[in-house]
């Protein structure tokens, strides 16, 4: 899902940079970085997501998938620290390994570090609060699954939106959005089942072993 250089026009690139820098700046202020334990946990989760993203699961038929991990970061760290953890991952990937373009870094941050994290966090919190009657393990799996799935669909759709707009501006392809939006959202809707299963399984395990670590459950009224 990392957009490379050359796929976005200058307006979309600048706009997404502006929005991302603004939201990440806000996340730095709200993320409570002075809490050493939470900060150390954020760095560890960044390292885990970085490595998890390196593992591409090839799917017979010619496509592949890797964990994005935005929902996982948001649920485990809370939205602001989750955004910062994903930001670290994406900046290292872009600057050190050229995974995603430098001109598209703003868009990639917006899709994977902001939209995916916030969507995952909100979905998880809403579902956990709604499901009262089932066991904690099952509840965490269902909420984690839905959070991972929805976060991937939204991040993929956002990517499709940016590329569709850019194709109209760059190449005057008037049907750009009609192509990019359905392809990105439908494919990520299918691949999101795997993202959701991994997110749900990790959260069930962590919730069983260390339930206090899941920030999306601990926080009463988030900052």
């Amino acid at each position: 899902m990392h957009i490379p250089d050359g796929f976005l026009d200058q307006y979309t690139a600048l706009a997404t940079y502006g929005v991302s820098v603004g939201i990440i700046g806000y996340a730095i202020r709200r993320g409570n970085l002075s809490d050493e334990n939470r900060f150390a946990r954020a760095v560890t989760i960044s390292a885990f997501i970085f490595v998890a993203q390196m593992i591409a699961w090839p799917i017979p038929g010619g496509t592949s998938l890797h964990l994005v991990g935005g929902a996982l970061a948001g649920i485990l760290l809370g939205p602001w620290l989750g955004i910062l953890a994903m930001t670290i991952v994406l900046i290292v990937q872009c600057l050190v390994f050229h995974d995603g373009g430098i001109t598209a870094l703003g868009a990639n941050l917006l899709n994977m570090a902001i939209v995916a994290v916030l969507a995952g966090y909100i979905t998880y919190r809403t579902i956990v609060r709604t499901l009262h009657r089932i066991s904690s393990i099952r509840k965490r799996f269902i909420a984690g699954f839905m959070a991972g799935w929805i976060s991937l669909i939204l991040a993929g759709t956002m990517t499709g939106l940016e590329i569709g707009i850019a194709s109209i501006v760059l190449r005057r392809i008037t049907y750009g959005l009609a192509v990019s939006l359905p392809i990105m959202s439908i494919w990520h809707g299918i691949l999101g089942v795997i993202e959701g299963s991994i997110t749900g399984s990790i959260l069930s395990y962590i919730g069983f072993k260390h339930p206090r670590v899941i920030e999306a459950e601990v926080q009463k009224v988030y900052e």
Binding site: D5, F39, M54, I55, G101
Partner: protein
């Protein structure tokens, strides 16, 4: 840092080439974004600022380069975290 997490990171880095190089070559690596790019005739601009592009280390076999690139990435994240922690602690004091 928890010993389990260190072991998990080592295991994941070690097995990563099996999935992302061997199996990916076997079935053909193609993300949904590549399908969109093909449909809309979008081309990637070919310029690079890093010798480690696409997790490849020049002169090394792909699988070994991939493992080392993963280790370098994790190392950079932890060094960055350590520096940030020191800076924040100093600012609080």
């Amino acid at each position: 840092m928890n010993r389990i997490i260190v072991c998990l990171l080592i295991v994941l880095i070690t097995v990563s080439p099996l999935f992302s190089i061997y199996l990916a070559n076997l079935v053909g690596y193609r993300e949904p974004l590549d399908i969109v790019a093909e449909e809309l005739r979008l081309n990637e601009v070919e310029f690079s600022w890093t010798p480690l592009k696409d997790y490849v280390i020049p002169g090394l076999p792909d699988w070994l380069g991939y493992v080392l690139a993963g280790s370098i990435g994790v190392g950079i994240i932890f060094v960055f975290g350590f520096i940030m922690r020191r800076l924040i602690a100093r600012r609080i004091r």
